[in-house]
């Protein structure tokens, strides 16, 4: 090896950066695979209640979300300060919209999954039960019977 070395020129070999994009892409794909899509931007203030007997929702594709809570500070001018129901990105005018919304969501699901649909209720812990009961009645009438009261683990 030394044979080919030129005497004076102590030039450094160029750093091989050709593998850099590969590494970056690997990272990118890893995170893309593990990341889950953000459902919706919450327009309500929602501090979840706590409980101990929790079950994990395994398949996200089976879950539909209903949010209930007081509108965020910047929404309060237009939407008031009392508890509201949020479906996707919009506020529902009344609880009767929930049934229609859930039926639509169920129609959009593949047929074999429709019976397994779970409705997750993300409800602020200070909410009064009145509005929650209305939503539950709507879900019952829409025959979306599997529900999940989203909660945090109590320490």
């Amino acid at each position: 090896m030394a044979k080919f070395r030129k005497g004076g020129g102590k030039k450094l070999p160029a750093i091989g950066t050709s593998s850099l994009p590969d590494i970056i892409f690997m990272l990118l794909f890893f995170f893309m695979a593990t990341a889950s899509k953000k459902e919706v931007t919450s327009r309500i203030m929602c501090e979840l209640p706590t409980a101990t007997e929790l079950t994990k929702l395994e398949k996200k594709s089976l879950v539909q979300y209903v949010y209930i809570g007081i509108p965020r500070q910047n929404e309060q001018k237009n939407h008031g300060v009392s508890s509201r129901i949020q479906l996707d990105d919009a506020f529902a005018k009344s609880s009767s919209e929930v049934g229609v919304y859930i039926s639509q969501k169920r129609e959009a699901m593949p047929e074999k999954d429709r019976d397994k649909m779970i409705v997750a209720l993300k409800v602020d812990k200070e909410t009064k039960m009145g509005i929650v009961t209305d939503v539950k009645q709507e879900l019952r009438n829409a025959r979306a019977l599997k529900i999940n009261y989203t909660a945090n683990q109590r320490k």
């Binding site: 030394a2 990341a35 929790l54 929702l57 019977l145 989203t150 909660a151």
Partner: protein, 194 residues
């Protein structure tokens, strides 16, 4: 190798920056939503047939839980703290000493377990006010589910020497038949104020 060649160290300091940038981007873009909660099943929408059946429930088979708008709890006519509810519910569901005031035990043929005396007709009736806070309601639901879970856990340890989660589906079914979950939520009523 006669002469020691100096190996150029690869300048990888920017690598960390790039990775962190990506990491942060995905952390921001990913929702850190809590996807766990209390799973419940709502009752079927009412039809007329059910109404007639509902009348014929023995008084001792019912545990009536009321939550008022001040988040106070009343169980079978007496005021109770939510912490005590779980033990009360466990006693009610299992009726370990065949008490006269607790649900009637009836012999039921259960696969794997044989004929057992169980309180198969017990009902926990839950009624809340429209002004009840969600946390109070969930506390009650949580305690009731905890009562069932603990009873099932105890039974599966006794009969199968395993935890409930380790049982296969047939064994789980047997345990579920032994302690059927019967929580009924009364039709919502409005007591005057909202």
């Amino acid at each position: 190798m006669a002469k020691k060649r100096e190996v150029q160290e690869i300048n990888a300091s920017s690598m960390a920056d790039i990775s962190f940038l990506l990491l942060i981007f995905f952390l921001v873009a990913t929702s850190m939503s809590t996807n766990q909660g209390l799973s419940r099943k709502l009752p079927e929408p009412i039809n007329k047939k059910q109404n007639i059946e509902d009348v014929e429930v023995n008084r001792r088979n019912v545990m009536q839980i009321l939550i008022n708008s001040k988040d106070m709890l009343m169980v079978n006519g007496e005021v109770m703290n939510v912490d005590r509810l779980k033990d009360k519910a466990k006693e009610f569901i299992a009726n370990p000493y065949n008490s006269e005031s607790l649900p009637v035990k009836k012999p039921v043929e259960i696969p794997l377990l044989g004929t057992q005396m169980i309180t198969k007709d017990h009902v926990i009736s839950l009624q809340n006010d429209r002004g009840t806070s969600y946390q109070a309601y969930l506390d009650v639901q949580n305690n009731l589910v905890a009562a069932y879970n603990e009873l099932r856990e105890e039974l599966s340890r006794e009969k199968f020497q395993k935890t409930y989660l380790d049982l296969d589906s047939l064994e789980q079914k047997a345990v579920q038949t032994y302690y059927p979950q019967r929580i009924s939520e009364a039709e919502p009523k409005n007591y005057g104020q909202n």
